[in-house]
Symmetry: C2
Subunit: 282 residues, 2 copies
């Protein structure tokens, strides 16, 4: 059955109120350009909730570069068809003017967790993410909201926001979906040239290399260096950051518990991020 598509906040509120009467309401916030990574979030929501709402909104206030906002893929008919396949009940796809009818002056800031990694290189990005997620939570009022582990810093920040502001909902995370060669699914992969696409899996390989070094007991700088060496062999790849973080998204100087190896690289005009969990067994 085709999901219902609503474009206004008032209509979304009304339909979500009805959907909540069936039982738990699951929510998957997206910027559209849906792929199997989003599909995994929707399927998880579908399996745990009585109804599922997907939002499709390319949020201007989270883009630090205007050209990235303008270039971001928009294809609502394809996204609606994708949601229909997966049994989504409601799609909320507002225009920018519906979400920001007046000058936005209220922002949700998460300190410390936003300082490093993507937060350092994309000033204002996580403030924009947290703010729009807070808005969407208030409009949809889900019982469970689903976020992918690929955006680990975003996931950590949303979890902390929900905890700190006592949002009445659960944040559920879903593992990163990868291509057969390891490349994490991302809307931005479409922008890669054939050559860049061929090189892109090196990012995951580098993260895995560092993960294995950590799990084998190597120190932070040695483990990082091993992964970085893989990326540095590729002239087309520019490393923005390649780091090891604790669960509070702070860089670590030694490994004392579970950590994330996380990185952002540029391949030509396209920025890719990815991360893996490293669990050293003592």
């Amino acid at each position: 059955m085709k999901p219902e598509l609503v474009r206004t906040i008032a209509a979304a509120r009304e339909r979500c109120r009805e959907l909540r009467q069936k039982g738990r309401l699951g929510f998957v916030p997206t910027m559209g350009a849906l792929h199997r990574g989003h599909g995994a979030l929707i399927e998880q929501a579908r399996s745990e909730c009585a109804a599922v709402t997907v939002s499709i909104f390319v949020n201007p206030i989270q883009f630090d570069r205007k050209e990235d906002y303008q270039r971001y893929t928009r294809n609502l008919p394809a996204d609606v068809a994708f949601c229909a396949e997966l049994g989504v009940d409601l799609i909320f796809a507002p225009e920018v003017e519906e979400m920001y009818p007046t000058e936005q002056k209220t922002f949700v800031e998460i300190t410390d967790l936003s300082s490093h990694f993507c937060g350092k290189f994309r000033p204002g990005h996580f403030r924009g993410v947290a703010t729009v997620v807070a808005k969407l939570f208030h409009i949809i009022q889900p019982d469970i909201a689903y976020f992918g582990e690929k955006d680990i810093q975003q996931l950590t920040i949303v979890r902390k926001m929900v905890e700190d502001l006592n949002f009445p909902l659960i944040v559920s995370s879903v593992a990163t979906v990868r291509e057969a060669d390891g490349l994490a699914l991302s809307s931005r992969n479409e922008r890669l040239t054939a050559e860049e696409r061929r090189l892109a899996p090196a990012l995951f390989q580098a993260l895995e290399c560092t993960r294995k070094a950590i799990e084998a007991g190597e120190g932070v700088s040695e483990a990082k260096q091993k992964g970085l060496a893989i990326l540095q062999k590729i002239p087309q790849m520019h490393v923005e950051y390649f780091e090891i973080a604790n669960p509070d998204m702070q860089p670590v100087s030694e490994i004392t518990g579970p950590v994330r190896v996380l990185a952002a690289v540029w391949l030509g005009q396209t920025r890719l991020i990815d991360n893996v969990l490293a669990l050293k067994i003592e």
Copy 2:
């Protein structure tokens, strides 16, 4: 009937869920030390809603001065008795550790509206207010929340926060309650010495003088000067600010619509604020 008193977030959520089944839930957030000003908020809530929750929480993160936080009046038994008289259904009075169990890293900021007046003299104050109000809204999930006009900048900021973040509730404001001599009710009035109490109504008189000057067509600086002259005659009174603001809480240089005359003064160790609306009839 005595209102139920709950001290945990979990219990508040559960009881509010039950109360919402009766119909509209009204919410009056307070820091306790309840007086007839709060009483007017509760009565308004009582008349418009099926059930009323009052929160009593002296919020540490909104105090810019530690001694002000420590000195703030706390008298829960008196507050419970006050709420009982007014037919409150539920009192939520958490400890600090319940509201801030881990280091708070998420803050709600409202730009521009917080720049002037109290926001200028109390750095971080409105960030702390907006953050705790967001938390309380998520815990209580009211249909209507009530705020007093005495704290006009706070009211304006909460309204903008609710609008910008799409909180699913209505903000309702209630007129300032005054003593017979014009002094606005405030928990801080208790701290005044007998002499200070005698002098305190000059604040309202000065605001009224400026209001009348504006409504008589005088310019901003003349109107302000007339009010200020009243305060400057009182050596014990130190004026923190005495300003004319538009509805977006920006100082105005000319009168082109409805404005607020608002001021903060120190009387000895006590800071008093007040404001009045000025409507120039064209």
